[in-house]
């Protein structure tokens, strides 16, 4: 009956027991050895404990290495050896495991970068941790809710899993303590030679389905199920009275508490009791810290995504053909999707972003950066390149490991989905937007030990705008938290987005680290194409220059440039020429940029052309740019007589007018208005007259 802490926040009090073992003069700290009293939980060095974390259902696990306090005895601290839970390992890395993780499996954490001092108040209670041999099987995972034993097999150093020496896990022999239930045999079997070789463990070839299940479903589900089973019980116990078993009746029923006793134990504990009386049962306001109770997995009755559904597109039955000639090769290289070996023309921007992120990762601090630029100027590509390089640096141990995730404002249905996606990518957890926001808030603002820096890329930031701007606010606020270790890179199209849409408290948190990507110049565009083609000779020099100049003059969008070149190779192929020349590029440019209005007018039927002429005639008569159909129709009838055509009826005339409106040569009011609807031209009168004259 120790699980009742589920949603309740309980303040715990710890006191020292016994005299300090030794004291460190320099640091003015004392070390203690502690001994147990009946009815209290005792934390000893070498014991495994649970520590408050982001997630109430899965508190951090650790082993106490040392206990110490300062001179006054106010600050009580513990140095711990961390374990990581399955949920704390990035889902992508979990694949390295090569099997399903056990829901109560933990990994001995050997990575650096983490704060191993914890406040005694954050210790929840001791926990059983069992070491298992690498080839031993886990006990069945559904052996009741009461068993909280955690299992450890492997060590995790944020890159690979290693076999763990059982000696590292072993707890020291315990003093006999009648108040605690007899501990199950916890000393692991003597380390076998196999387990002592702490080499990179040989993993079985991963079975993709298992991997996917591991990454997505299984773990989360079992956790959700566990929490679903736990919470109601917890609430009931919390409400229903304080009759919990062995604990002091009436005071702390069902609430785990532990104490380190110091020499004046009596006083302190009384004071503690007094405080407990008024404070410890305060549950913080439900909406703030507790999660929304409707996590998608345990809402009963509503049909949900079938379990284990994996998002995938079936595989080809016949292999894709490789490019067979120079033009096809060029076309493949010029496709926007093909990732170039390096990004030309963005060296400075690359360097700036790289040093910004790198410094934050090495310092273990956080920060944010705002990147702007019109579409197709390589913003996202540059950031991705930076992350690739940093990842490589981390892999070769030049910088500490970090975790990169990205979200895109356009790839979500609602700004608040950002929370869901971030949480999912960070921990693999699924939650509703509100719940996810609360969990992330906790994760980033609590002084819980962070294991590695998180780099978050937020693309299309402007889409995350909400009326209260809380999504944007949070994204910029989290990095400022001391313990967050979060670097946020934001990308949007407009340079003045912060000034334009953000309210002050959001804009001020964004800070001044801004960068803007200028549209490419024609030289840069030319260089981009040349570097992509990489010595594949498919274009004439002049042709390339024409494309680059044209695009630089229009938008400086590299995508446009590549698309035109690609189309030019197709035109070239059709005309059976060897090299893509000026004429091909001209044709491609013409296809993509010329307006079709004039052609459309030329291709319209005689009566439709006459109607357009009638529109202009009526506009001139009225001196306005707008007329009703009825007015135009009178002109049309007159023109028909002049041209010697049989006049059309009103219905036919209306149909004609609708056709012209359908392709937007005309702008029309609702067709319900019939002859009364107003007509406007969507092209300039000169264009219409030009198109009709050339006929």
């Amino acid at each position: 009956g120790m699980k009742s802490f589920g949603r309740l926040r309980v303040r715990r009090f710890y006191t020292w027991r016994g005299n300090p073992l030794s004291s460190n003069r320099k640091l003015r700290t004392h070390e203690y050895e502690v001994d147990g009293l009946p009815r209290t939980t005792v934390i000893r060095t070498g014991q495994h404990i649970l520590i408050e974390g982001d997630d109430d259902d899965n508190p951090f696990a650790a082993k106490v290495v040392r206990l110490f306090g300062d001179e006054s005895g106010q600050q009580k601290k513990a140095v711990v050896q961390w374990y990581v839970r399955v949920s704390e390992v990035p889902p992508s890395k979990l694949k390295l495991l090569g099997r399903d993780p056990h829901p109560r499996e933990i990994f001995f954490y050997q990575g650096g970068n983490c704060d191993d001092e914890v406040n005694a108040e954050s210790i929840i209670r001791p926990v059983q941790v069992k070491h298992l041999d690498a080839d031993a099987s886990f006990p069945p995972s559904d052996d009741g809710d009461d068993d909280e034993t955690l299992y450890v097999k492997l060590a995790w150093d944020s890159k690979v899993f290693r076999i763990l020496d059982s000696a590292l896990v072993a707890s020291p022999p315990r003093h006999p303590n009648p108040s605690l239930p007899p501990s199950p045999p916890r000393s692991p079997p003597a380390a076998t030679p196999a387990s002592r070789t702490s080499s990179r463990c040989t993993l079985p070839t991963p079975d993709p389905t298992v991997l996917r299940r591991a990454a997505l479903g299984e773990v989360r589900r079992s956790r959700a199920a566990a929490s679903a089973g736990k919470n109601p019980a917890a609430m009931e116990r919390g409400r229903g009275g304080r009759g919990g078993g062995e604990e002091e009746p009436g005071v702390l029923s069902g609430v785990p508490h532990a104490s380190f006793l110091d020499p004046n134990a009596e006083e302190d504990s009384e004071e503690g009791e007094g405080r407990r009386g008024d404070g410890s049962w305060k549950t913080l306001a439900g909406g703030i810290l507790t999660s929304s109770p409707l996590s998608p997995q345990n809402a009963p009755g509503t049909p949900r995504t079938p379990r284990n559904a994996t998002p995938s597109i079936p595989s080809r039955s016949l292999p894709a053909r490789r490019p067979a000639n120079v033009l096809e090769e060029a076309r493949t290289r010029l496709h926007v999707s093909s990732v170039p070996e390096s990004l030309p023309c963005r060296e400075q921007e690359f360097q700036d972003i790289y040093s910004f992120v790198e410094s934050k990762i090495t310092d273990g601090t956080g920060g944010c950066m705002y990147i702007s630029g019109v579409p197709g100027t390589g913003k996202t590509a540059t950031v991705h390149e930076v992350m690739r390089c940093l990842q490589h640096a981390a892999d070769t141990d030049e910088i500490p490991p970090f975790h990169f995730i990205e979200i895109n404002g356009m790839k979500m249905t609602d700004p608040h989905q950002a929370y869901v996606q971030i949480l999912q990518k960070l921990t693999g957890q699924k939650a509703t937007a509100d719940h996810a926001a609360a969990l992330l808030e906790k994760r980033f603002s609590n002084p819980a030990p962070r294991k590695e820096t998180t780099v978050l890329l937020v693309d299309e930031l402007d889409l995350l705008w909400t009326r209260k701007q809380n999504v944007m606010y949070n994204l910029f606020n989290w990095p400022t938290c001391r313990h967050a270790r979060l670097v946020v890179l934001t990308i949007a199209n407009t340079m003045d987005l912060p000034e334009r849409v953000m309210i002050n408290r959001v804009a001020s948190r964004l800070g001044l680290t801004r960068m803007s990507f200028q549209p490419y110049t024609f030289r840069q565009l030319q260089q981009i194409i040349t570097s992509r083609l990489n010595k594949v000779k498919a274009f004439e020099e002049d042709a390339l220059q024409l494309v680059s100049r044209k695009v630089a003059a229009l938008s400086g969008d590299a995508r446009r440039c590549l698309d035109i070149c690609r189309r030019a190779t197709e035109i070239c192929e059709l005309s059976a020429a060897g090299l893509v020349g000026m004429s091909h590029v001209m044709e491609a440019l013409d296809e993509m940029f010329s307006s079709a209005y004039i052609t459309a007018i030329k291709c319209a039927s005689t009566q439709e052309q006459l109607f357009l002429r009638a529109v202009i005639a009526e506009f001139r008569r009225l001196g306005l740019e707008e007329a009703t159909f009825q007015q135009v129709f009178v002109q049309h009838q007159a023109l028909c007589r002049v041209e010697g055509l049989q006049p059309v009826g009103v219905s036919e005339g209306l149909a004609m007018c609708q056709r012209l409106g359908g392709c937007r040569l005309l702008l029309l009011e609702s067709s319900r208005l019939g002859v009364l609807q107003r007509v406007r031209l969507n092209v300039s009168q000169d264009d219409v007259l030009y198109a009709l004259k050339a006929d």
Binding site: T310, I313, S315, R316, S337, V675
Partner: protein, 434 residues
């Protein structure tokens, strides 16, 4: 040999006529695709190459097919897909998703439909599980996992493409175009639209991701070409079961097109509209007159059909009105003449009508006020008149301002056709100012 055999096979005339009906109706309703879309060879080639590259090489693409209604956009695409499906390399690989802006009115519906048509794993039977956000994440994840060389390419056809541009944030378009420009599952996005300004509807980052390929179906047509089209549409195929009947039919079609009056009718149609749809509507009316007793289309049929096609709908409605209602319409016409199209109310119309009655000594049309009111309401129900925008519904009905939804030419034509229209009313209508 077999051809001669077929030619010799004589079917009963009834059988032949029903065959003619079936073949031509399928053609006119566009169930039967033409061998090749006429006059669109370049566009056909462009689209075919493009889709083939997606299917065979796994190259992602996006393209818009733009042209006026009835120009053959969908037909072109269907022809290309039919050609492609003959190649095993394409047929075995290409997945297809067909969406229509009129059916998938928002991204939520569109995503469900895409998921359903792709048979992703969150589909059970015909039901797509999950919320909008989950569906989007699921689809994007699925597309992201694929790559150029190993995943089956997906063809997305977005009919009435311009309507998708009105969806919130253009989320679907952004994501489809983004996938088409990323190293993910190869996809081809084909948009079909009749709006020439469709590109201007796209948001700048959506537009940047679109390849800017547009296939325009704009071709000017001369009258002889149009005439050829009509002939080709009416022609029976060579594999018609009864060879001699087919020969006779085709000969009659040829002579029909050479007829002077037919030429005039077709020319009139050609001037009005060159698209296939209106041509099919005309020919369908002709075809429905073909029977065992009259197993060919005659010029008179075409003339009648043309008359039916170009008949004015409002004039037809006016012919069904009562004399009182017709009188009210005439009164409105006079009010329009006097007040230059300013709106009127029932009281004014009634007064105008009374003025006409005063000049007549007989009381044949002397109706009670409620009767006139009823007639007025009927005209409103037929939408021959409509209340002026913004005139409040609180106004008493007699004083509610109205506008006439008819042109004068329609009223005069209706009076000509009105069965046994009293002469004095005709004269009243014709008089310039009452």
């Amino acid at each position: 040999m077999s051809k001669r055999k077929l030619k010799n096979a004589h079917l009963p005339i009834g059988e032949c006529v029903s065959q003619v009906h079936q073949i031509l109706r399928e053609r006119f309703c566009r169930h039967q695709l033409p061998e090749r879309p006429a006059g669109l060879e370049a566009q056909h080639k462009h689209l075919e190459e493009l889709l083939k590259r997606t299917a065979v090489h796994g190259e992602s693409n996006s393209v818009l097919i733009v042209g006026p209604r009835g120009a053959g956009k969908t037909t072109l695409l269907r022809c290309v897909l039919r050609e492609l499906s003959k190649e095993t390399e394409v047929q075995k690989n290409l997945l297809q998703v067909h969406l229509n802006g009129l059916l998938q009115t928002d991204d939520r519906v569109a995503l469900k439909e895409i998921t359903r048509q792709l048979h992703l794993e969150n589909v059970v039977g015909d039901k797509v599980f999950g919320s909008f956000a989950e569906n989007l994440a699921f689809l994007l994840e699925a597309l992201k996992k694929g790559d150029r060389s190993s995943s089956r390419p997906v063809l997305f056809v977005l009919d009435e493409f311009d309507l998708f541009a009105h969806h919130k944030n253009q989320t679907l378009l952004y994501n489809l175009f983004d996938v088409s420009q990323a190293a993910q599952t190869p996809i081809a996005v084909v948009g079909i639209s009749c709006r020439l300004d469709v590109l201007e509807l796209l948001e700048k980052r959506v537009k940047s991701r679109f390849s800017h390929r547009q296939i325009h179906l704009l071709s000017s047509l001369t009258f002889p070409q149009y005439l050829d089209r009509v002939r080709a549409q009416l022609r029976l195929p060579d594999d018609f079961p009864d060879g001699s009947f087919a020969e006779e039919w085709n000969a009659s079609v040829k002579s029909l097109c050479e007829d002077g009056s037919v030429d005039e009718v077709l020319r009139r149609h050609f001037h009005s509209s060159t698209d296939f749809r209106s041509m099919h509507a005309l020919l369908m009316l002709c075809l429905s007159r073909v029977s065992v007793a009259k197993p060919a289309i005659r010029p008179a049929d075409l003339l009648d059909a043309s008359r039916l096609c170009s008949a004015d709908t409002k004039v037809n409605m006016l012919r069904g009105l009562s004399v009182l209602e017709l009188c009210l319409i005439i009164a409105m016409k006079h009010l329009n003449d006097v007040y230059r199209g300013e709106p009127f109310n029932l009281q004014m119309v009634h007064n105008e009508f009374k003025k006409f009655l005063q000049r007549k000594s007989n009381s044949m049309y002397n109706f009670e006020h409620p009767v006139v009111m009823k007639a007025f309401e009927h005209l409103q129900q037929l939408e021959l008149i409509r209340p002026v925008d913004g005139s409040s519904a609180k106004t008493q009905r007699e004083y509610q301002l109205m506008r006439l939804m008819l042109d004068h030419s329609q009223i005069m034509e209706a009076l000509q056709k009105y069965p046994q229209c009293p002469t004095d009313i005709k004269q009243w209508a014709a008089s310039a100012f009452a």
